[in-house]
């Protein structure tokens, strides 16, 4: 069954999982652009966000929309605290110290989630679970469509936030030049913590959108590794690039799962990542700039 409908189906499924990778990668990129730190625990933050949403919606029986927004806010506050209490202390230590610190935090999050929510997969009912939409004769899962639509909406909101609001512009300024922003009276440290909060909130949204497609469990943080491929393809530092990279990785993965023998689908994102580093290490959306001593 190699017809056009089948191909289109794969593309949509790939774009949906790619949007998840893109959202996680967006979290890396936001933090990287601002603070030059890379959060290797981003996938685990997504896992925590998913579990928080599960607790609110499934255990406390909150309505889906309200629960989802509350979960995003809670995870965002967690991200703020993470930066304000822990990450801020390692500013000035070499970059790889931050890499190891966030990796260590990821292991701790995983253990904490295991203690709190157990090691079984859980899920909650969403308005999109097990429903299909008929688009022009093509039967698509609403869960996949909701991921794509949710990502597009989030991107619009973030775009408006960064370009129109005062605090968004302050964030851009702090990312571009900390010292100048500081001189202009921008509270750079608070701004950085807020960026961590946005990044954690994005990760939580990714977890919520992902929950109808795959269950929430302690090890879903390993998706973060695939998100690295998305970020690297996009050029690590470009926000649209991370989303495009995510979609590319997602679609390649779907086709690999369709064409290649079982077991190879898992590594395609890594292969794509390494190929990208061999061919065009600066990424698709690279900004070329000179070095300053």
């Amino acid at each position: 069954m190699d017809d056009a409908a089948r191909i289109l189906q794969l593309v949509v499924n790939g774009a949906a999982s790619g949007c998840i990778y893109g959202l996680i990668a967006l979290g890396f990129v936001l933090i990287y652009k601002a603070t030059e730190m890379v959060n290797f625990a981003q996938g685990d933050v997504m896992m925590l966000g998913g579990f928080v949403a599960y607790t609110l919606i499934s255990t406390y029986h909150l309505p889906y929309w309200f629960g989802a927004i509350l979960a995003i806010v809670i995870t965002g506050a967690f991200g703020y605290a993470l930066d304000a209490l822990i990450l801020r202390r390692v500013i000035g230590q070499p970059q790889f110290a931050v890499v190891m610190l966030t990796l260590g935090l990821g292991f701790i999050f995983r253990a904490a989630a295991g203690i709190t929510w157990g090691y079984d997969s859980v899920g909650f009912n969403t308005p999109f679970t097990n429903k299909t939409a008929n688009v022009g004769g093509l039967v698509l899962g609403q869960d996949n469509l909701s991921i794509i639509v949710g990502t597009v909406i989030l991107c619009g909101v973030l775009y408006l936030f960064f370009s129109k609001t005062r605090i968004g512009v302050a964030m851009q300024a702090a990312s571009q030049n900390q010292l100048a922003a500081y001189y202009m009276g921008i509270p750079v440290r608070t701004i950085f913590s807020l960026i961590w909060a946005i990044s954690a909130g994005t990760a939580c949204l990714a977890g919520i959108l992902l929950s109808p497609v795959s269950m929430i469990d302690v090890n879903m943080g390993f998706l973060g590794i695939k998100a690295f491929a998305a970020a690297v393809i996009g050029g690590f530092g470009s926000i649209p690039g991370s989303l495009v990279g995510g979609v590319i990785v997602g679609i390649v993965e779907q086709f690999a799962g369709y064409k290649l023998p079982a077991g190879f689908q898992e590594v395609t994102s890594n292969v794509v990542l390494l190929l990208m580093l061999f061919i065009r290490p600066q990424g698709l959306f690279a900004e070329r700039m000179g070095k300053r001593v």
Partner: protein
Amino acid sequence: MRYLFRTQYRQDIALWRHNGDRFWYAVLAVLVLIAPSVLGEFYIGELGAVYIFAIAGVGLMLLVGYTGLISLGHAAFLGIGAYVNAVLLAQGVPFLITLPVAGLFTALCGAAIGRPTLRMSGLYLAIATLAFGSIVGTVFQKWTAVTGGFDGFAVPTPYIFGIAVEGATGIYYVSLVVLAFVLWVSANLLRSPIGRAMVAIRDSEVSAQSMGIHLARYKTLVFAVSAGMTGLAGALFAHYVRFLAPDAFDVLLSVQFVTIVFVGGLGSLRGAILGAMFVRLLPQFIAIVRDDLPFGIGRLPGLEPSLFGLVLVFVILFQPGGLNGMWLKAKQWFQAFPFKRQTSFRRQKSYAKSERLR
């Protein structure tokens, strides 16, 4: 307190700073040589494993501690070394050839993966090695014709000049010899121009480059040496475990290796050995106290990795010098007794160094 009066440059780069060093390291050498006749079989096995991890730790220390690059895929290099060694031994190649071949082949793999990624910032190496590690892990599982897949691979007994290297004691001595060799290579590398280039790259890439250091060449060289040492450790690891399973070489093992470097103390070979002792002994310690812990903490499935994570976080936040730093502080305290000063080890204020290209 000892004051070294340096009159010539040779003293600056000497392997032994003074005769006290020579004496104490000679005592240590005698102790580790007679250890198998004093300690029991179990402890010798564990000590051998510590040596194997220390070999990989020294390799990674050159990369992380002295060049400022991080690799999250060293478990893959350990695995490559282990399988190359085991497969060649099974083909009937003598151990004295398979061991260096395992190291050299792993070094070549390291150069192949390092060459393209090291043109970019150090961060890309971390990500690329993470991806590489997961690809290699999958290859080990899927390439059943060579690795035997999940059925495992029984490692043949190695022979050195007709003598079988068997049991804990045999592995112990072979590992000790390789560890001594690796330490000798590293110590001499570090006092050569290459070593100074590595430290210069760590402290500032831009200034190193402007002093005429070819960044990509030196980084690739160090990465290859580091991978090669880990490959040697892998070859010995194969004999330590005797039965290779493809899922042993996962990300967690890579994180353990980096934990060796961080807990031991960045930028010291002694730290790599102290860190290896810590990383090998922590699981043993957990196994002993597991049943006595309150609230059923001991029975948590993810206890070990989360403890490693916790230790990493605490070391980075509160004790960036690691175990070696603690040792130096203790030594200083005794040497200066009773004149300990509050400010002796106060951390200097440091500022973020931007890697941004602007």
